[in-house]
Symmetry: C2
Subunit: 520 residues, 2 copies
C-alpha cells in the first residue's frame, strides 16, 4: 500500500528550512579530527569542533548515496534489499537485561545466542542484527568478537558489525572478510552498522571512529539520531524532525566524503519523555506521528530509511500496555513504509530488557500487519458466486465445496493468539498470552539448527576470535568463554537457569541521559 | 489524514459486479410481509420470501439517503455528526457476560448502568450505545425499558434504541418522544438503531420489524451484515465484501422505500473463523483488510459508515493478545475513516464479555490513535530554533525555556501506560496493565455524576417504564427492579459483589451460528 503522508507540502518546506538553518547557523559538532579535516577540505567552515555547513553542499553529498542497495548475507538466499518498498526486520538491539518468563537478569552470551537461533529459525526476521542483548559475561574488550562469531555461525543472514569502538569495527570487518572474502567485502555491502548521534547536534569520537571505518570499507552505515523529545531535542515534534534531519544528513554527508556512493540508511529514533519523571515514553501519538513524518522525509530524500520502531514500549511486563504501545510504533513503521525495522521483536521496559515472550507477541503483530498491508486481490474466482448458489439464504459455509477446498490456508493462523472458549481456557490453566508465549519460544529454540558452515571458515573464525581475545584482554578465553562456542541448543529458560545477578549500576539510566552510545 | 485505499479501481469494479449479480440472480430473503409488499410495489420481482432486484433500482434508492446527518442528543452540546470526516465512538455492545477484575459473571443492570456512567464521564465516548451489556436480571420482556431509561437518565449523549422486537422499538421511540418531544422526533434523528442481517442473504422478521419502525419514525438505521468468513460468508474476503454490499444495500433500499431520505449508516462487521474450531477470530490481517476495504466501499457510496471494530479480540484475558488484536481493528477503523465505531471500549472474549478493564486499555489505544491521525502542524514557532540556541551541542532540553513553557501539555499523558522504572514498579507490587486498569475505572465510576434532567421528564420516563413493565410482564416491577432506578453511584466491583451465577446455556455459542440477532 502507498505510504501515508502526515506532512503537507508547506510543512515539508518549513522542515527543510529548519535543518538548513541549524546546520548553517548553529553548526554540528564532530568530535573527531579526521571528520573535521574532511569537512574543512571540502570547503565547510570549521570552528573548534563545530562545522558550519553550506546546506546545498550537504544536499549534494547526500545525493551521492544510493536510494536502494542489496545487503548481502553469507548465504546468498538470505540477501535483502534496503530501500524502495522492501521491509527488513531485525529483533531488539542493545538491552543489558534479559527476561525469560518471571526471570529478569543481566544478559549473557547464552541469551545472545538464543536470540540468534530464533532470528535464524523464523522467516519473519531478515537478520539477528548485531546485539539482540548485551552479553555481560564476556569481557567488554573482547565482547564484540563473541557477538560477531555468534551472528556468523548461528545465522546465515545479514549481520550488523559492532560500532562501539574503532577496534570493534576493525575486528568486525576482519571477521566479515574471513566469511565473505576480501574481493566481495570491497565491492558489496556485506554488513551494516548503526551509529547514533549524541544529540543534540553532536557526533562523538567513538561513533565517528566506527562511521569512518565502515564507510572506508564501503559497508552500509545507518545514521540514527536518538531523540527523546524534552531530553535530547525540543518538546515540539517539528523541532525534533528538523534536528533529526540536521544530524542524520550531516552524518550521511561525511560517509559520502569518505567514500562516494557508500550505502547509507537514514535513521530515526524519535519518541517523547514523561515530563514528570524524565523517563522515556514509547507508543504514544508523538511516537507514531514521529515515525510517519520521518518516513515521508526519507522518501523526499530518496534514501533507504530506518524507522524508530520496532515494537517499542515502556512497560515492565509483557501485558496489554506492552502490546498496544509496541503495535503503535510497529503500525506506524508499516504505514510509513519503513525499510529497516530494528527492535521488531523482544523490546521491553524502554529497551532495558530483551524479552523472549515479548518477541513472540511482536511476531503475531508483525504477521498481522504484513497481511493487512498487502493489497487485496479481487478476481471472479475470489467472488465465490458458486458458494452462494450452494449455500443459499440463511445457511452456513462451513461445509461447502468452496470452503473445503480452501480451509487449510484461507486465513492466517496466529502464532500466539487463542480462540479457545472460556471453559476450555480455564481447564488449561487460564494461560494468558505471556504464559503461552513462553512455551512457543522455548519450542523454537529447542528445534533450532545452526545453518551449514564450511569447517575451514569456522576454524578461521574461531582462530581469529581466540587470537584477538588474547590480544585485547591479555589472557586466553576462560573455559566459560570457550564453551560459548559450542553451546548446545536447548531452551535455557528451562534447563540452564542461574542465579539472579546484581544489576550493574547505571543500566537503568541508559535511556535517560543524552549521552547514549548504546544502540537505541 | 486521508483514508487508506486498499482496493484498486479494478477491484472496486469487480466487487460492484459481485453484489449486483447476487441481488439479481440469487436474491435476498426478507422474512416480513410488509417488506415484500414494499418491494413488489416498487416493481421488484418477489418469489416466496425472496426478492430479486434490479441493481440500478437499489442504487437509486440508496442515493436518497443523506451522506451525512446530525444525530441529536437530549443535551444539544452532545449532538454528533455521522458522516464525512467525523468519528463517533461507542463502547462495547451486546455481551451477556461482564468481567470486573477476576470476577466474570452474567451481566446485570448495575453493570449496564456503570457502563453508562463511564460513557457519560469520558469525552472519549460520544454515546453509551444501546446495550453495553445484557442486563439479565431484568425480565426479558421489559428489559429494553430499563435499558433505555438508564441511557436517557445516566447519560445526556445520543442513544441507541432497542431493535430486538417491534414492541421494543415502539417503546424506545415512545421514550424518545418523552425526552425530545414529538415535534423534534418527527423531524430529526434523535436516536439510532442497529439491525443485523441474518447472513447469508437474509433479513429476518424481528430485525425487519425494528427497521420498519425506526424508518417510519425517521430515526437513523445502521444496517450491519454480521459476517464471520467461513460461517456466514465464503472464506474469501472479496466474496464477503460483495455479500456485505448485497445485504446492506438492500436493507438501505428498504429504509428509503419506507421513508425517502431517512438517515442510514452502511454497516459492516467482517472477520474470520478459526477453521479448526469454528470459533470467530478477531484482529488478524483479514479483519484489518475487511475494515479497510469496507470503508473504501462506503466512501464510494457516499454513505456514513460503521466499521467492524472497535477493539475486537478473541482473548479470554485482558492481556497482550487482547491489546494487539483490539488495536488492529481499531487502527483499521482510523485508517479507513470510520464514522461510527461501536465496541470502542470493553469488548473481550469474542464479544461474550464486557470488561471494565479492557475498556480502559481501549481508551489508551483510542487516545493514541486520535493523536496520531491528527495531521502535524508545522510553523516557525514549532521549529523552536531558540531552544537550540539556548541548549547548544550535547546539552539537554529538560530545563530550557521552550520546555518550561510547554512541559505540562506538550505530550499526551496516557491514562493507563506506565513509565515507572522496574524497581519502583516492583515496590508498588508489580501491577500489570490489567491490574492498574481496575483502579482507573473504579475511580471513574466513583466520581461519575448523572447529568441534569428535568424532574417532570424524569417522572414521565419512570411512569412510562412502570406502566409498560406491568403491561409486558403482567406484574409490577420487583423491589430489585425498582431499586435499579435509584442505584447509588459506587464502584460495584468493590462494594456490590454478588455470587457468581450459573451461565445461561447457549451464551457461549452466540457468535458461532449464523443466526445472531444480538448486536455484533
Amino acid at each position: 500500500m502507498r505510504p501515508v503522508e502526515a506532512l503537507s507540502d508547506e510543512a515539508l518546506a518549513l522542515l527543510d528550512g529548519g535543518w538548513r538553518r541549524i546546520v548553517s547557523e548553529i553548526g554540528i559538532e564532530f568530535l573527531h579530527p579526521r571528520a573535521l579535516e574532511l569537512f574543512r577540505s571540502a570547503g565547510q567552515r570549521v570552528e573548534d569542533e563545530k562545522v558550519f555547513f553550506d546546506p546545498d553542499f550537504i544536499a549534494e553529498q547526500v545525493a551521492l548515496a544510493p536510494s536502494s542497495f542489496t545487503l548481502h548475507a553469507r548465504n546468498p538466499a538470505r540477501d535483502v534489499v534496503l530501500g524502495g518498498e522492501h521491509m527488513v526486520f531485525v529483533p531488539v538491539q542493545g538491552p543489558p537485561y534479559v527476561r525469560r518468563g518471571d526471570e529478569r537478569r543481566v544478559a549473557g552470551i547464552e541469551d545472545f545466542e538464543d536470540f540468534c537461533r530464533i532470528a535464524q529459525a523464523l522467516d519473519d526476521f531478515d537478520s539477528a542484527g548485531g546485539l539482540p542483548c548485551e552479553p555481560s559475561d564476556i569481557p567488554v574488550e573482547a565482547r564484540h568478537l563473541d557477538c560477531v562469531r555468534a551472528l556468523l555461525t548461528l545465522t546465515d543472514k545479514p549481520f550488523q558489525g559492532s560500532q562501539i569502538s574503532a577496534i570493534a569495527a576493525a575486528d568486525s570487518l576482519a571477521l566479515g572478510e574471513i566469511v565473505f572474502g576480501s574481493e566481495a567485502l570491497s565491492t558489496r555491502a556485506c554488513m551494516y552498522t548503526n551509529v547514533n548521534a549524541n544529540s543534540p547536534l553532536r557526533w562523538d569520537d567513538r561513533m565517528l571512529d566506527a562511521l569512518l571505518a565502515y564507510a572506508h570499507a564501503g559497508q552500509a552505515v545507518v545514521l540514527t539520531p536518538f531523540l527523546l523529545m524534552g531530553a535530547m531535542s525540543p518538546v515540539s515534534l517539528p523541532a525534533a524532525l528538523a534536528q533529526q534531519l540536521a544530524e542524520t544528513l550531516t552524518g550521511i554527508a561525511l560517509v559520502q566524503l569518505v567514500r562516494p556512493g557508500c550505502p547509507v540508511v537514514m535513521g530515526g529514533f524519535l519518541s517523547a519523555t514523561d515530563m514528570q519523571s524524565g523517563a522515556p515514553t514509547f507508543g504514544g501519538p508523538e511516537s507514531m506521528l514521529g515515525v510517519l513524518a520521518s518516513g515521508q522525509l526519507a522518501r523526499q530524500w530518496q534514501l533507504p530509511w530506518r524507522s524508530g520502531g520496532g515494537a517499542l514500549t515502556s512497560s515492565p511486563a509483557v501485558d496489554a500496555q506492552a502490546a498496544y504501545e509496541g503495535m503503535a510504533t510497529m503500525t506506524a513503521a508499516f504505514m510509513a513504509g519503513a525499510n529497516l525495522v530494528l527492535h521488531t521483536g523482544g523490546w521491553l521496559e524502554s529497551g532495558l530488557v530483551a524479552s523472549f515472550e515479548k518477541l513472540i507477541v511482536d511476531l503475531d503483530i508483525v504477521r498481522t500487519l504484513r497481511g493487512a498491508f498487502t493489497p487485496l486481490e479481487v478476481d471472479e474466482v475470489s467472488l465465490a458466486f458458486d458458494a452462494h448458489l450452494e449455500v443459499g439464504h440463511g445457511g452456513h459455509f462451513f461445509g461447502c465445496a468452496h470452503t473445503m477446498e480452501r480451509f487449510r490456508d484461507c486465513f492466517q493462523r496466529p502464532l500466539l493468539a487463542t480462540t479457545a472458549n472460556f471453559e476450555a481456557w480455564q481447564e488449561a490453566g487460564a494461560p494468558d498470552a505471556n504464559t503461552r508465549a513462553g512455551a512457543i519460544w522455548a519450542d523454537i529454540v529447542a528445534h533450532a539448527e545452526p545453518p551449514p558452515l564450511d569447517d575451514d571458515v569456522r576454524g578461521a573464525i574461531d582462530a581469529f576470535v581466540e587470537r584477538r581475545t588474547v590480544e585485547l584482554t591479555g589472557r586466553p578465553p576462560t573455559v566459560r568463554e570457550a564453551r560459548a562456542r559450542v553451546t548446545p541448543v536447548t531452551p535455557p529458560g528451562r534447563t540452564r537457569r542461574r542465579e539472579r545477578r546484581a544489576e550493574p549500576a547505571g543500566g537503568e539510566s541508559r535511556c535517560r541521559g543524552s549521552q547514549s552510545v548504546l544502540d537505541p
